[in-house]
C-alpha cells in the first residue's frame, strides 16, 4: 500500500519540498490540468492564504479561478455544492476547521446527502481543505482537531496527510474524485520537508494507509503530526524496541487490511491521533483491529490523543494537552 518514491530523473523524479509547497504544487497541477477546477476561500488570492498555502496561484490562474470570498463559510460552501452539481470541481479552503461549525449545514445536509437522496443522479466533486491542530497558542476556536466528525458522517471522504508526498498525492486524488473529500491539514507540519514525486499523475488512492517504517514488536498507527513524532521515536528506540509506524492517511474509507496485517505481525497496537479520545478516530481504528485481528493481539490497545478537553491558550496548558512522541513512548512502554 505504500507509495514508492525515489530521487533521480525521468518519471520517478522527486524533489524535496515542504508540505505547504506540496499542497500548492498539487493545486497548481490540477488547475493546469482541468479548467473545471477552481479554488475559493477567505484570502486565498493575493494574500496567498492564511498559512500561505495558495501562495502565488492567483498570479498564474487569475482571480476568477483563485477566488477570494467574503467571510461567509455557509455561503461559499453552499455555492461550492451548487457549482459541483452543475459541472465544476471546486476546491474550498476553510481557514480553520473550527469554522466548519458555521457551514456544517451545507456539508452534512447538502454535500454529503445529495448524491444518495437523488438516487445517484448527481455527482459531488467538492474538495474541502481545512487546517487542524494545536501548538500555536491560538486557543480553542483555532486549534481543534475535528476530523472524526466527518470521517464518521456518511457521504463524505476524509483524508489527513502527514508527509509532503501524501499531501500532494491525497489532494490530487481528492480533486480528481467525483465524491466529496475533506482534506485535514495539520498546521504544525506545513514546514515539514520530504521527497515529493514530480510526476503530474502521481496520486495516492483514497482509502490506503502507508507503512512508513517496518517493525516487529509494536504497531503505531498515527495521523498527521503524530506520524513524524512516531517515526522519530521509532528511530530513538531502534535496537531496543522495533516499532512499525503506519500513516493512516485516509480516515474514511479506512485501509483495514494494512492495519490488520501489521497487528498480525506485531500483536501490539498504539493509536496516535490529535482528536479527543472519546468516540474518536482511535476508537474506529481499534474496532477494526478488534473485529479482524482480535486473536493476534497480545496486549490491550493503547490510545494517544487529547483527553476530551479543548485546546487551551497558555503554552503551559497547551503543551500539557497535546499528544507527543513521549506519550507514544509511554504507551509503548505500557504494553511491550
Amino acid at each position: 500500500m505504500s507509495t514508492e518514491t525515489s530521487s533521480g530523473t525521468g518519471p520517478d523524479q522527486t524533489k524535496e519540498m515542504t508540505i505547504r509547497e506540496a499542497i500548492r504544487l498539487a493545486l497548481r497541477e490540477e488547475l493546469e490540468r482541468d479548467d473545471d477546477v477552481f479554488v475559493m476561500g477567505e484570502d486565498v488570492g493575493k494574500f496567498g492564504g492564511v498559512y500561505e498555502v495558495t501562495g502565488d496561484l492567483v498570479e498564474q490562474f487569475g482571480e476568477t479561478r483563485v477566488r477570494d470570498t467574503p467571510i461567509s463559510e455557509a455561503g461559499f460552501m453552499g455555492a461550492a455544492v451548487g457549482a459541483a452539481a452543475t459541472g465544476t470541481r471546486p476546491v474550498v479552503e476553510i481557514m480553520f476547521s473550527d469554522f466548519i461549525g458555521v457551514c456544517s449545514e451545507q456539508i452534512i445536509n447538502q454535500m454529503a446527502k445529495n448524491r444518495y437522496m437523488f438516487g445517484g443522479k448527481t455527482e459531488m466533486p467538492v474538495t474541502v481543505r481545512t487546517t487542524e491542530g494545536g501548538g500555536s497558542g491560538a486557543a480553542s476556536q483555532h486549534s481543534g482537531t475535528i476530523h472524526t466528525w466527518f470521517a464518521h458522517f456518511p457521504g463524505v471522504m476524509a483524508v489527513a496527510p502527514a508527509t509532503p508526498a501524501s499531501a500532494k498525492g491525497l489532494l490530487k486524488s481528492a480533486i480528481r474524485s467525483d465524491d466529496p473529500v475533506i482534506v485535514f491539514e495539520n498546521k504544525q507540519i506545513y514546514e515539514q520537508k520530504g521527497e515529493v514525486p514530480l510526476d503530474e499523475d502521481f496520486t495516492i488512492p483514497i482509502g490506503t494507509a502507508s507503512v512508513e517504517r517496518e517493525g516487529e514488536d509494536v504497531t503505531v498507527v498515527a495521523t498527521q503530526r503524530m506520524v513524524g513524532e512516531s517515526l522519530e521515536l521509532a528511530e530513538e528506540l531502534a535496537g531496543q524496541t522495533s516499532v512499525e509506524v503506519i500513516d493512516l492517511r485516509s480516515l474514511y474509507p479506512m485501509d483495514t487490511d494494512t492495519l490488520v496485517e501489521s497487528v498480525g505481525k506485531t500483536g501490539r497496537l498504539v493509536i496516535a491521533d490529535e482528536s479527543p479520545l472519546s468516540y474518536g478516530t482511535h476508537a474506529e481504528v481499534a474496532t477494526r483491529v478488534m473485529e479482524n485481528a482480535f486473536y493476534s493481539l497480545d496486549a490491550p490497545i493503547q490510545r494517544v490523543g487529547v483527553a476530551d478537553v479543548h485546546i487551551p491558550f497558555s503554552p503551559a496548558l497547551e503543551e500539557e494537552v497535546l499528544p507527543s512522541g513521549s506519550d507514544v513512548e509511554a504507551a509503548i512502554n505500557r504494553i511491550v
Binding site: 470570498t69 453552499g78 445536509n109 471522504m157 479482524n292
Partner: protein, 344 residues
C-alpha cells in the same frame, strides 16, 4: 413538448395546463396522504401555482432552479414528469430518486431542477453555486432560487445573496411569501413591511409582486433573468401568495381561520388566469373543462402506475452513497446480516 412562454397563446395554454397539473397533483397527494397511502409527509403547493409557473415560464430550459420542501409545483413548472414524481412519493424504484428521496427531495439535475430541499434556506447558496458555474464556464444559463418567507430569516440565504451580488452572478432570488413560516405569520418573523426590502442591503433591485397573478410573476422574473444574463447580477423578487393547505398535511392550522383562507381563494390564480384567457379568446370554457378532465385522468393514471410499480430492492439502500466503491458499506451491510458474518 410545448414551450412554456406565456407571450404566445400556445404557451399560455401550456402555463394553464401546468398550473392545473400542479393543483391536481397536490390535491391528489393530499387525498392519498389522508387515506394513509403515502409514506412520510407532504407539503403542498396548492394556491401558489402562479409563482412557480410564472417564474419558470420566464426561464430558458437549461436554466437551473433550486426548490424547497414544498417543491412539487416547482418540479411540474420546470417540466418534470408527474408519473415519476408520483412514483417517488410512493417510494418506488422508478421514481426520480429511485425511492431514496421522496416528496422533499425530488431532483432532476439534467432538467435543471437541483432538488427540493428539506432544509429551510439551504437552496439559495446552491443557486449561487449554479450561477457561479455559469459565470466560470461563460455559459448563458441563469439560476433561480425559490424559497419561502421563513427562509428570509436564515443566515445562509443572506450569505448567498451577498455572494451573488458581490460577484455579479447570474442568479435570481424569488421568495414565495405565502404568509406563514410553518405556523407563524410572516409579520411575527420579520421586521420589514415587504421582504423585498432585503434587496437594499445588497444593492440589488428588489420588487414585490402579486404572486396570484402569473403575468406579474412572469414579467418580474423575465426582467430579472435579463439582468442576470447581461452580467448585471441578481435580483430579489418577493411574490405575495398563499398556501391553501396547511404547512404539512395534517396541520390543524390554529393560526388562521377559514375566512382568512377564503380571502385568498377569491383571488385564485388559476381561476383568474383562465378568465383572462377565455376573455382574450385563447381558450374556450369547453376547452378548459376538457383540459382539466385530461389532467385529472393523467394524475389518476400516475397514481395507478405508481401503485403498480416495484419497490426498490432492499439492497439498493447500500447503493449511491459515492461514485467510488467504498468497502465499508458493503462489508458492514453484509456483516450485519444473519448469514453475512461467516465470511468476515
Amino acid at each position: 413538448m410545448v414551450v412554456l412562454d406565456i407571450e404566445t397563446e400556445d404557451g399560455q395554454r401550456e402555463a394553464l395546463r401546468r398550473m392545473l397539473t400542479i393543483r391536481a397533483f397536490d390535491t391528489k397527494a393530499a387525498d392519498l396522504f389522508s387515506d394513509g397511502e403515502l409514506p412520510g409527509f407532504v407539503h403542498l403547493y396548492v394556491g401558489e401555482e402562479a409563482v412557480g409557473v410564472g417564474a419558470c415560464s420566464a426561464l430558458e430550459s437549461d436554466d437551473y432552479i433550486t426548490s424547497t420542501h414544498r417543491g412539487h409545483g416547482h418540479c411540474i413548472a420546470k417540466g418534470l414528469d408527474p408519473d415519476l414524481m408520483m412514483a417517488e412519493l410512493f417510494g418506488k424504484a422508478n421514481g426520480y430518486c429511485n425511492g431514496k428521496g421522496g416528496s422533499m427531495h425530488i431532483a432532476d439535475v439534467d432538467a435543471g431542477m437541483l432538488g427540493a430541499n428539506g432544509i429551510v434556506g439551504a437552496g439559495p447558496p446552491l443557486a449561487t453555486g449554479a450561477a457561479l458555474t455559469s459565470h466560470l464556464k461563460g455559459e448563458d444559463t441563469v439560476a433561480l432560487a425559490f424559497f419561502g418567507d421563513g427562509a428570509v430569516a436564515q443566515g445562509q440565504v443572506h450569505e448567498a445573496i451577498n455572494l451573488a451580488a458581490t460577484w455579479s452572478l447570474p442568479a435570481v432570488f424569488l421568495v414565495e411569501n405565502n404568509q406563514y413560516g410553518e405556523a407563524t405569520p410572516v409579520e411575527k418573523q420579520h421586521n420589514v413591511q415587504n421582504l423585498s426590502e432585503t434587496a437594499e442591503a445588497y444593492n440589488i433591485p428588489g420588487f414585490t409582486v402579486d404572486g396570484m397573478d402569473i403575468t406579474a410573476v412572469y414579467e418580474a422574473v423575465k426582467e430579472a433573468r435579463k439582468r442576470a444574463a447581461d452580467g448585471e447580477g441578481p435580483t430579489f423578487i418577493e411574490a405575495e401568495t398563499y398556501r391553501y393547505h396547511g404547512h404539512f398535511e395534517g396541520d390543524q392550522q390554529p393560526y388562521r381561520t377559514e375566512e382568512d383562507v377564503a380571502i385568498w381563494k377569491d383571488r385564485d390564480a388559476i381561476e383568474s388566469f383562465k378568465r383572462r384567457l377565455v376573455d382574450a379568446g385563447a381558450i374556450t370554457e369547453a376547452e378548459f373543462d376538457e383540459m382539466k378532465a385530461e389532467i385529472h385522468q393523467q394524475i389518476e393514471d400516475a397514481v395507478g402506475k405508481a401503485k403498480e410499480a416495484a419497490y426498490p430492492d432492499p439492497s439498493e439502500a447500500y447503493e449511491d452513497m459515492f461514485n467510488a466503491a467504498v468497502p465499508e458499506i458493503s462489508d458492514f451491510s453484509s456483516g450485519m446480516r444473519a448469514d453475512g458474518g461467516e465470511n468476515r
